[in-house]
């Protein structure tokens, strides 16, 4: 269980995250939506340690992770993928996976053996299978298509066996068809791995179709949380964000 307690972060006078309290149940799939500048990415950056919160708690199974460094938080089991695919351009897909497993097994400083280590092979293989990257294993990451780079980024988070997986706009920069393929993949991963998945998404069609839980952020605050139906009907959300079009759609 991931519990966020009164989490706040300001930049200058701007409250990017304002007293956010939220629970993510184990094995839940949650979409975080909100207009540009709503503080969605900041929220992720706080949870993963990229930013230090001004106040509040981030409890993963009761352990407070607020203020810890990214490597520590990753070790506690919160993995993340980035809005712009964040990969290792000169490594192949396979090397990327093997090196990440190595780090997860605390073997990143091993000097006396040769890379790759035999005990990292199975997990690397498994992650590549999950993301459908097996046929591209020997491709250098920089030469992959945009979509495959996003998949590799997610694989990089997933190969660490996280309890919670945070995906910052997994469909960013993709065409309509590719978006749906990606989001089906995300849903499939969630079902197979039985982990907690939280993702940021702009496409409302996608959000309402696949996310059982939705969190709406606006100006760093939680505007609403709930099921797609509840969010669709929520007056505040409609006013601030969705507009009448979706409301009309929901009414039908």
């Amino acid at each position: 269980m991931l519990e966020i307690r009164s989490l706040s972060k300001s930049f200058g006078g701007v409250k990017a995250t304002d007293n956010v309290t939220l629970d993510f149940a184990d094995g839940s799939l949650t979409a975080v939506i909100g207009p540009n500048g709503a503080g969605k990415s900041t929220f992720f950056n706080l949870i993963t340690g990229a930013l230090k919160p001004d106040s509040g708690q981030i409890l993963l199974n009761g352990v407070d992770l607020a203020g810890r460094t990214p490597p520590e938080i990753v070790r506690y089991g919160i993995g993340r993928a980035f809005q712009v695919a964040s990969i290792f351009p000169s490594l192949t897909v396979h090397e990327t996976m093997l090196a990440a497993v190595c780090a997860d097994q605390r073997r990143a400083s091993v000097l006396h053996r040769r890379f790759p280590l035999a005990e990292t092979r199975d997990r690397a293989e498994h992650a590549m299978e999950l993301l459908g990257l097996v046929s591209k294993r020997n491709r250098v990451a920089a030469t992959l298509s945009h979509g495959d780079q996003k998949l590799l980024d997610i694989a990089l988070a997933l190969v660490l066996d996280p309890k919670v997986l945070l995906l910052d706009e997994p469909t960013a920069g993709m065409g309509t068809e590719e978006r749906w393929r990606m989001i089906d993949k995300v849903r499939e991963l969630w079902e197979k791995q039985k982990i907690t998945v939280v993702f940021i998404e702009h496409d409302m069609d996608i959000v309402f179709k696949i996310a059982p839980e939705i969190v709406v952020l606006c100006y760093g605050r939680i505007l609403a949380t709930g099921t797609p139906e509840a969010i669709r009907r929520n007056e505040a959300v409609i006013e601030a964000y969705l507009g009448s079009e979706h409301h009309a759609g929901a009414a039908i």
């Binding site: 990229a50 290792f88 000169s90 090397e95 997860d104 000097l111 945009h146």
Partner: protein
Amino acid sequence: MTELQAEQAAAVPQPEAGLQRSRYFDVLIALAAFAVLAILPMLTGSKALLDFVIRCSAFGLFATSLNLLVGYTGLVSFGHGMFFGLGAYGFGLIMQRTGVPVPVAFVATLVITTIIAAVIGAICVRLKEIYFAFVTLAFQMLIHSTILSWVSLTGGDQGLRGGIPRPAFFGIDLSNHVHLYIASCALLVIGLLLMRQIAQSPFGYTLRMIRDNANRASFVGIDVWRAKLTIFVLAALFASTGGIIMALFVSGAYPEFAYWTISGEGIFINMLGGVTTFLGPMVGTVLLLILNDTVTRLTEYYGIVLGIVILFFAIGLRKGLMDFVVEWYTQRRNGPVE
């Protein structure tokens, strides 16, 4: 990433193409290389050639260790030469002042290097690119001026004079030219093998991750600061060993060994030889020393000639010699790139 960038990346050969090769293969190559070097004195009476190989050993270790920082970790140090100087002075001083056996002085010098590199590294590796480069350079200048001003210990601008005593140990007499030659070759081959092992170990791949994307590496659970500090100290040890060979060779130590131009030469060597292959810096060392020896014989405008050569590699080839060779070979093997 644009398509063009992806294309360019595709054209770059995989430096890690041979990663599956076992370490026994490396040992085999090292032994063969050592055997060739070891029989050289029997084939030729040329003292100049042996001297050349000794200098190649000193600078080769130094330049290859710099590539662990520049090529593998993305840490461009402009002050790596300080550890070369530290090795030369540390070893020379210990031998002159204490009279301990050579191996003891060797180990003691490496211990001192470890301590100083750990302190300097702890301050430097937190800094980003250009700041890292400049602060390492600043430390180099600090060590250089310390050597110049602490006359009672270091002899100031005169250097360590009076020769470094080289008592025989285990039947090895380093004041014998051939013995010194063999010992230098052995240190070079062992040093290269160890660095090769570092480069191909899991830690070596941790370094590549940091070079490619340090931020992502930290989200994979890697303590970036610790990894950078570790390689900074390890690289310093090999640079220091190069300095020790140099001190043995000239039987002294001079402030130039710790001057920033040594660091500059290290960078030159890496640009000449290339940073994407392990042996690139070694090839660069041989090239630079040949250039140095021939050009200084022909003209006093050594700097101009060297500058033109560097420009040729940097602007003409846009890479070092070994990068170029490997790329050419890969393209030939895989057929022309469409």
